[in-house]
Symmetry: C2
Subunit: 125 residues, 2 copies
């Protein structure tokens, strides 16, 4: 049941991490909507402006995400997709990447998808 959904999710995640790892994180704001919600560690924000502000203000100069696993399911009749990613994140000039987990809920809109839910957690220890 997952073939197309994994393809869409992989394409989305590839773009998302390329953008957040790049020089202008504000480019991510195009995939959020006024009712979108983001949790980054213990911080929760809602709406394009608040999410964009949070992404820009993350206290990291350099990020490098590497996906370890990506799974995607259709989430009902609407064509929405639930994505669970686990991966490794290299922050600034650290030598050792940190593990993380991120869940996206992608909702179809006009031939593309927007992000309704985005939950990010570092895996400690």
């Amino acid at each position: 049941f997952a073939a197309n959904f994994v393809g869409v999710a992989t394409e989305f995640a590839t773009w998302y991490y390329k953008t957040i790892d790049g020089t202008d994180r504000s480019g991510l704001s195009v995939v959020y909507r006024p009712h979108s919600m983001m949790t980054f560690e213990t911080n929760q924000v809602q709406g394009v402006g608040a999410i964009k502000e949070k992404l820009i203000s993350l206290p990291f100069q350099k990020l490098n995400h590497q996906i370890s696993t990506l799974d995607a399911h259709p989430s009902g009749e609407s064509g929405s997709i639930i994505v669970l990613i686990t991966g490794q994140l290299l922050i600034d000039d650290n030598e050792h990447p940190q593990k993380y987990s991120q869940c996206f809920h992608l909702v179809p809109e006009g031939g593309t998808y927007y992000v309704l839910n985005d939950i990010f957690r570092l895996i400690y220890g």
Copy 2:
């Protein structure tokens, strides 16, 4: 925006892990429906029967899940909830727990919730 949703998700996850860590994992089947999907590591199954069979056939005698983080978002107008859990899992007589990440999509039904999507991944390394 997350207060009630976190409460529901915490109650669900507490019951879910207590049941899967207990002596009869088949008790979990009550929260799945014919269209429910489960990914456990690289295995994907759909439907109550297939999910129940997968859960029962997991090659572990003893499990002990401990939640490290739990985040929950409302996932649209329907009252559905997206949950991202990170935690530690002690398997059989191993001394060291393994880290894991699990995403649930809970859908309201008759005063309670069922699981539409369940994605589980161990975090290696």
